[in-house]
């Protein structure tokens, strides 16, 4: 193992954190939906993939400018979440969790296949106004795309936290996720809350898509691996906690980058799953153990 220069260290750090933020954003979707409905939506990564293709089509196919692309993609994804919830998920209420799990895994396959049919399997490029030469600080060169990922993730999380903590509807989302029956008894429209939670989760996947698209070429499988890593992030974070999802994502991003640098590329990928196994052995309740507390 070579010793590592400061510049390389900082670059790995930024890359790790920015990838981690992406995993964290997709993991936020997992956790939001899980808390609201006790369902695990395995298609969350593929929903992000859909968002990336929507952004690509709006920009390259229809020629929209960047800002309208961002707004329209997020709106489309929110609408997609509401449609998905009412058409596919709501009819599954009361079915065993295993059936729901299979449904969302199947949904992922369908989304990948449909994306392949519409957009083909060759890789697409998505450029942004900030896809410019990297920022140079001394010997450190930082991609603006990565810095934007980190900045947007921070803003989005602050916004989400403020919404859930301080607005009446946000607190109602928390209440419904903690006790649906009691929420209904105080007059919270639980069904609408669940639909809006899905919209929130898919809109966040849309934001993740807009952030990942300029970093990577777009193809139908782009969401699959991200989805798995985000799922690991959610487990590492404790699955019941939004902050945990983000922290879990960043942990995974960092481990992946540093292990990948110190050994060979493939070890970086593998290290994510090793981390998952370690977590399950040492601290199965996750870094932030809300599920444990929920049982009390």
């Amino acid at each position: 193992m070579d010793s590592i220069s400061l510049a390389t260290f900082i670059q790995l750090l930024v890359t790790g954190i920015s990838h981690g933020c992406l995993y964290g954003l997709v993991a936020l979707g997992f956790v939001l939906i899980y808390k609201a409905t006790e369902m695990v939506n395995f298609a969350q990564g593929d929903i992000m993939m859909l968002g990336a293709f929507i952004a690509f089509t709006l920009a390259s196919g229809l020629g929209f400018a960047y800002i309208p692309v961002v707004i329209l993609t997020i709106l489309f994804m929110a609408a997609f979440g509401i449609a998905l919830e009412s058409a596919v998920i709501r009819p599954m209420i009361g079915e065993p969790p295993f059936a729901v799990l299979m449904l969302t895994i199947g949904l992922g396959f369908v989304l990948r296949a449909v994306a392949g049919m519409i957009w083909g399997h060759d890789e697409k490029e998505f450029d942004t106004p900030y896809s410019i030469d990297p920022l140079l600080i001394g010997e450190v060169s930082l991609d603006y795309e990565q810095l934007v990922v980190v900045g947007v993730t921070i803003l989005l999380c602050l916004g989400l936290w403020t919404f859930l903590r301080f607005t009446k509807f946000g607190v109602a989302i928390q209440a419904a996720s903690q006790n649906q029956l009691a929420a209904a008894y105080v007059g919270i429209p639980v069904r609408r809350v669940v639909a809006i939670t899905w919209a929130l989760a898919t809109a966040i996947a849309g934001v993740a898509a807009l952030l990942v698209a300029p970093l990577q070429l777009i193809y139908p499988g782009i969401g699959f691996v991200v989805g798995i890593k985000a799922f690991v992030a959610a487990i590492v974070g404790g699955f019941g906690s939004l902050a945990g999802a983000l922290i879990g994502g960043i942990c995974i991003g960092l481990v992946e980058q540093f292990v990948g640098y110190m050994f060979e590329g493939a070890y970086g990928e593998t290290s994510v799953y090793v981390l998952l196994l370690l977590m399950l052995f040492i601290r199965p309740q996750g870094l932030i153990a809300t599920l444990q507390r929920k049982k009390v």
Partner: protein, 254 residues
């Protein structure tokens, strides 16, 4: 016409029949109690009133309107405050956020004033208003569940075994509060209890359920005098040898 009228309702859990032919009237301004042993169907009656369970047969009318097919949140917004069995507070929300959620159906209005009203009845809740509700004691959680329903400004409050698991002193305290809410806040009350002593003490009229049906109804005075109620719900022995032969005794309503 009574404020709340339950007519011949029949409700199921999947294929399981839980209540059958249940009719209950709650007159405006009164406290009515619904008594019965565990599994008699009391909670099911309340769930059917609140819209958490849709009855297969029968109707529920509230304030003159048929509310049988409505969603729970719609029924709540009409002024039905449900204090569920086992408190069911929002464990990770603060005490005060729990109370604020109680006012969810109402336009902003005078939230602070209403919080003050609730804290007036339950000073302990004010002390712990920043604490996550999951950390409150059982008695405090019961107070919170009642306070949360009060924030709805309910016309009728459905209380499901508020005395469950509480010390006799706390049971007394909760009973006193229910009477005060009835008198001072004009809340009509349907009180479900296994603890007949407190319930018969504060209610004016009572129903007794067994195996999913109402088997007896009368003023609470007369219910308290009935030997069956004394024996099976107030734990009084009829004395001497008869007490020991109790297992053989058939209740008169059978």
């Amino acid at each position: 016409m009574a404020l709340l009228e339950v007519r011949n309702v029949e409700s199921y859990y999947g294929p399981i029949l839980a209540i059958r032919g249940v009719s209950i009237d709650v007159e405006e301004g009164t406290i009515v109690t619904l008594l019965g042993a565990n599994g008699a169907g009391k909670t099911t009656v309340l769930k059917t009133i609140s819209g958490a369970l849709e009855p297969q047969k029968g109707t529920v009318a509230f304030d003159g309107d048929n509310v049988t097919a409505l969603e729970p949140d719609n029924i709540a917004s009409l002024g039905v405050g449900h204090v569920p069995e086992g408190r069911e507070v929002f464990p990770f929300l603060s005490t005060e956020d729990n109370l604020k959620m109680g006012a969810f159906t109402r336009a902003a209005g005078d939230l602070e004033g209403d919080l003050d009203t609730v804290y007036g009845y339950f000073p302990q809740l004010r002390e712990h208003r920043k604490l996550a509700a999951g950390f409150l004691s059982g008695g405090q959680q019961q107070m919170l569940a009642i306070g949360r329903a009060l924030m709805l400004k309910p016309k009728v409050m459905l209380l499901d075994e508020p005395s469950l698991g509480l010390s006799p002193r706390l049971v007394q305290e909760i009973g006193d509060i229910v009477v005060r809410l009835n008198e001072e806040q004009n809340v009509t009350v349907l009180l479900v209890e296994q603890n007949a002593k407190m319930a018969l003490g504060i209610a004016s009229y009572g129903y007794i359920m067994e195996s999913g049906r109402v088997v007896m109804e009368d003023t609470t005075e007369r219910l308290a005098e009935s030997t069956d109620v004394q024996e099976f719900y107030l734990g009084m022995k009829s004395g001497g040898a008869r007490g020991r032969r109790r297992w053989k005794k058939r209740k008169t309503w059978r």
